[in-house]
Amino acid sequence: MEVLIGAGVLAATIRLATPVALAALGGVVTERSGVVNIALEGCMLVGAFFGVFAADKTGSLPAALAVAILAGLALAAMHAVAAITFRADQIVSGMALNILALGLTSYLDYQLYSSTGTPPTIPLVPNVHLGFLEKVPVLGGAVGDQSAIVWVTLAIVVFLQLFLFRTVPGLRLRSVGEHPRAADTLGIDVRRTRYWAVLASGALAALGGVYLSLSVAGSFSDNMTNGKGFIGLAAMIFGRWTPLGALGAALVFGYGDALSVSLQGVEVAGFVFPVQLLSTIPYLLTILAVAGFVGRSRMPAADGQPYESEGH
């Protein structure tokens, strides 16, 4: 049982779900406004690299986080300009920016840190120790010692859920993604709303990236996000384009990922499952969960469609 629902597995679930959840939250915000941003992966990667880079250069954690998020914003801004102003194909633009992010971060990392890696002394995001939970079985072990970014992520989920569905600006954002023409008629600036949403998605994904580099790994390595931005995209759909749903989807994936580690070497009736097949658990679990419990989901009606206002 310990390998299935023990505190260790649950703690690992949360750690592995966090970057996916942040990417998925970015996806929710941008797609709710009607812009597909497949460059979440790239935003994560620049966040991961520039966070480490700034941590090394400034020695300051707040500066590192700020630079990481700025990097995500910059990449997202390129996507926004292409997708919103120039009405480019959003998927091609996103793919291009993913390649750009991979090339740029790998290039800079090699030029700057190839021989020795980033210094081991860079400031890292601290964990939050919840001493009062220590005595609580399972829960204490699961959440008692998680990165500060994990708690920030949780706060963002709550905030976004309220923002999108309980506030007027949130309603405006969604209306731009559902029916931009009507929103325009009502005096909502469609382009500006979409710009903000795309920028926010870049910042959120970059936070997911910097979590990987400055909280999990303590360093940067080529392509270290390893597709988590795409998993985030899937989690966004899985979670029906809602922040809470995205978190739930990320947790399902993270749980599968945690199992693929905790089940290594575990003997069941004298049989040890091959490690390679254990690694398929998070992917199969996600498909099964969607097929079994979530089913059909509806994307925002104007998702991915460029908007050209009447006046132009």
């Binding site: 300009v81 292409a82 009405r87 480019a88 390649i99 899937a234 097949l277 969607v290």
Partner: protein, 359 residues
Amino acid sequence: MRQPSFDWTQGPAIPVVSVLFALVLGGLFVWISGHDPIQAYAALFRGAFGSPYDVSETLVIAVPLLLAGLSVAVAFRAGLFNIGAQGQLLVGAVAAGWVGALWPDLPGILLLPLTLAAGVLGGAAYGGIAGWLKAARGVNEVITTIMQNYTIVFVMHWLLQNGPMQAPNAFGTPASAPIGAGAILPIVLPDFLVPSSRLHAGIVLALLATLGFWFLLWRTSLGYELRAVGLGMRAAAQAGIDPRKRMVIVMAIAGGFAGLAGMIQVSGLFHRVYDGFSAGFGFDAIAVALLGKNTPVGVLLSALLFAAFSRGGTLMQSDAEISSHLVEIVEALVLFVIAAETVVRAVARRWGRPVKAAS
């Protein structure tokens, strides 16, 4: 996720100008990094087209890109986003490699069609699962195909790393046993023309598949229905087409194209299955399809462009000493500028050329 557009027919001027503009932008980047852009592009060009051998190698890369591109394109045409061409390609390769090595002594007239069928059907089945899950359970195909891409990678790890498909003489190398001689696609360029060329008959299959893609979509009633579904669910439903029934077929066809790509890599190039091979074709294929506006000629041309970058890019590193990552950056800029083609349109309009805007 998006509606395919239909405006490739506006002539080649805009895409060509876009590529040139992008190359200038990329050159600027190369120059900033302290290299000579002219020398860089000379190496790029030489690597892709400098000699008959280089051209043949560019075509070798273009073949799987073209087929995977068709896979993505056929799904887009029907309004589905197939991110899973990569996974379907690998399943096709595994199926073809398995069948090709199962009866190595069969004559080619039997073994080649069997291997071909295995690859195509393997990819089609894998794609069909995504279509079926969407039709039956409402699972968005983006989720399924992303997850399938990862799943097959780990299944291949298991099959080939000391697993059931590993060749007995591999000494631990994650490779399968070679396929029978009958399953091998012959080299199409004779040695006296291009020495040691690897260009195989897969290129013929790929061109036939492109023709088939065109025929299917524009000359059959199924193709008409698929395009109708792609243009809008409600409209299709009004025309009496059940979009759900078409999903399985579309994704199976898409998987079939990708599976064929995998089969060709096995039968034409490697003659066995390696763990972790053909990485990235299925992802590049998304850009290939969209850049080519999901049309046969467009996909063909953009597959060639990507293949040229792939081959030329390595020469930029070996001959012009430019980091492969800078090459990636240039490639990304090209792609980005082409995506934002309207920039070029706007500029062209300023020049006073009568260029019709995208509808």
